[in-house]
């Protein structure tokens, strides 16, 4: 199936009918967006890649059960986050501060080198602040701030009431602010 105007529903139908290329288009359409979010949720590239891959595997297997009540992306996210959570429970890993060094890349900031260094330092602190959050708080923050999801969409992805999403986002922001304030006090730029 080709053509830019092809929407998700068409690609899904084609995939269910046996067109694996259509599924490839779905993957290409969403893999980087999902991967980026999962890097910040999981804390490292390898874990994020495995989660993304498994999410697409499960999506492919279960695609014929996709009822279209939500967007494919929302459904895919739900699969990915459910898999991540169950995987995390099994592994009992502590990911605090675990974003791999390889994933910490300097920002392509503009202006003088000093400004770019400040931006990179700030980004590092923000990432650290993000990683000290609980999984629940980090997930909603990633979905909200990095992925740009609305409260209703987050609620659907995480299967939570919208009110819970709102309170978690608020608490996550408060925790991050406190962390950053403490960090700046201890390590002033």
């Amino acid at each position: 199936m080709s053509g830019e105007a092809v929407n998700d529903d068409q690609l899904i139908s084609a995939t269910v009918s046996g067109d694996s290329e259509a599924f490839g288009q779905l993957v290409d359409r969403y893999q980087n967006r999902l991967f980026n979010s999962m890097v910040y949720v999981a804390g490292n590239h390898n874990e994020a890649e495995e989660v993304v891959q498994e999410a697409f595997v499960q999506a492919f297997i279960k695609l014929n059960t996709f009822a279209g009540r939500s967007s494919f992306y929302t459904w895919l996210y739900r699969i990915a986050f459910n898999y991540f959570i169950s995987r995390k429970r099994r592994k009992r890993e502590i990911l605090v501060g675990a974003i791999e060094e390889t994933s910490i890349e300097p920002l392509d900031g503009e202006g003088p080198a000093e400004n770019r260094m400040l931006q990179a330092e700030r980004a590092t602190q923000v990432r650290e602040a993000l990683m000290v959050l609980s999984d629940e708080h980090r997930t909603v923050m990633v979905l909200r701030e990095i992925d740009g999801c609305g409260y209703a969409e987050i609620a659907e992805i995480l299967d939570l009431p919208v009110g819970t999403v709102r309170s978690r986002i608020h608490r996550a922001r408060s925790e991050m602010r406190e962390y950053l304030q403490d960090n700046l006090e201890n390590h002033p730029a």
């Binding site: 490839g24 893999q31 492919f60 297997i61 990432r127």
Partner: protein, 475 residues
Amino acid sequence: MNEEFNEELISAYLDGELSAEEAARVEEAINNDLELQKFVEQSRTLGDDLRGLPRFEMSGSVADRAIRGAERSMLNDAPVLPAKNNARRWFIGLSSVCAAAIVLVIASISFPPADDLAPVSMKRAEEKGAADAAIQAGGGRVEGEEKEDAEVHDPHLHEPNDVLQHPAAESTDSLVEKNNAFADRQNQLLGKSQNGAANRARLQQAPAADLTPAASPTSNGDSLPDLPEPETPLEPSPSVVEPSAPAPEPKIVPQEAANAVVARQNAVQFTVQLKIGPAALREKLAANAATKGLVLKMLSANGVARNAKQKKRATVEVTKEQLAEIRKLLASEKIALQPMRVAANAPAQSSPAEDFPFAQEDPEPLGPQPFAPNGPQKNANGSKPPPVAESPADSPNNNRIAKSVPADGDDQNVPGQSFADANAADADIAFGDGENSKIRIYFVFDARQGNVGNGIGVDADASETPVVDPADQDD
């Protein structure tokens, strides 16, 4: 005023998640409170920082990996694991050993030319046993009772230019010739040969695919097996068949074989259930580019049905290419099938291959199977008219409607719905590879018109399929 409540509201306000009324209240509060203004500024900065974080992309598309992973996952019924996670893979591997069965499927069937009518020789249990042993030794997977049922739906029998290709498939012209000769031969046998020319003309007008090569006699030296005078002449059209027409004798006799050939010409499509146990076959199918997607879909459909605790079959489309690959695979595995009996309303098959009029002593493995007589044919009203000699073009209502197939004809490709009631008991013909068969194929004729696409289905619970071995049917 509750500070926590206010901050949460402000957080939602910054995200644009408040109603206009709520937003107005929050804006008023912010304007009147320096602390809140500081909070808003910090929150916005934090949001900007988060949105400014570097974005990561995967190196290359994960599509192929995902599809391969889905294939492995469905075949092994275990999560896909990274190569480096050996301990986990071992754990899952052991778990899947204990877990049991997987599924698979396949089916093929096309009707061979008469001179290719296949084998009905029993297949060497020692070869299969050795293959299974090798699988278990090499792959560490327990095969044991693994079974899968599948249904193949073949509507192409009457679609022009869509003859299922047998390796020895002949040209359309050749098939036309053969069918012409066969039509004449039938007319002679039926004492209705005076209009042979008309029949010939009718057959020539029929779509090429209608001229099923399977049991067609040839005009170039190959001859139809000698058929005795029929006890009951074949009727020219189902419309003249009384609903109370007697069911055919269960024992296969040449007359019935002739009827079967005619009935097959009339059949619009057929379904086939197939059980294939050896994992090697599944894995080879999964490794084959042409059938990989088919295996995935079948396993997926099976999983869905199983998860839903349904004992329904699902169908997926099967292309000619896939059927050809399936045939080749079975042939490469040296798996030959013999007629078997099926239960219930299907006519008892004469299990000895010798009874089969088209059987050959040392048939080619897996080639097109000999066409056994149909079971009692059912009209929509459940009557069982005998097979009749007519061309498909003259058969608007068709003379064969498998009760397993819903009459609406809209669901043949809907997983979990098609052939929901089909089982071996509905089959007209069955083939298997022995008493301890892991492979059984059931033909279920379906005379629905207008369906497109072949189908393969899998049972949600293969063990529920009431298969009756020949040994149990001798009475």
